[in-house]
Symmetry: C2
Subunit: 114 residues, 2 copies
């Protein structure tokens, strides 16, 4: 598939897909004329990238963490620690957000126009 198809399939802009590649998060092969071609599996990969980005991981971190999905060999203590610390961060973020939601819910309750 070409970049426009992948974009349509994932909701990521072509700009973003090129950026992911530039950051080493997403691979592509090129046609004779230089246009990118992606395998079907790229769809899932992109949606994973999107998830991790929206969870607050930056592209450098994702680059550190993503390869392990396909390559069990690079299992290292360092990687395990890195993943755990990101997991903790996301967990804290969810907790904070949950508290904030309570606050907002309280406001909605109080200021509902009956």
């Amino acid at each position: 598939m070409r970049i426009g198809d992948l974009s349509a399939a994932t909701g990521a802009s072509a700009r973003s897909l090129r950026y992911y590649e530039e950051q080493g998060l997403l691979a592509s092969s090129r046609s004779g004329g230089g246009q990118r071609h992606y395998p079907e599996t790229a769809v899932e990969r992109v949606s994973l990238i999107q998830s991790l980005l929206s969870a607050g991981l930056n592209s450098a971190t994702i680059q550190d963490v993503l390869p392990c999905i396909n390559n069990e060999a690079i299992r290292t203590p360092w990687l395990a620690e890195r993943l755990t610390s990101e997991l903790d961060r996301v967990t804290r973020q969810i907790d904070d957000l949950t508290r904030t939601r309570e606050i907002l819910a309280g406001l909605v309750e109080r200021y509902r126009v009956d």
Copy 2:
């Protein structure tokens, strides 16, 4: 209390407190020499601002939403809608984040160095 005290009490930098004021989120009185003075209640106000900011509301939105905490009079259908839509957004954000946490947890599990 002066800005340094409020900063210490809330963890927000003096820079941020001035920014909150500039954005109309936080009021202060001034001493003869022009220095800011805050009531004790500012501590809670700032931590509320921090919560809402970290939940992804921008300062303009917070400005729309915050006054109602102190002033029940401005209860309007528009405000109720606004709050509800922010609440929904935060709820979705938590759901997304929770799914992403599952992914990360799965990775941690798979790449734990035993």
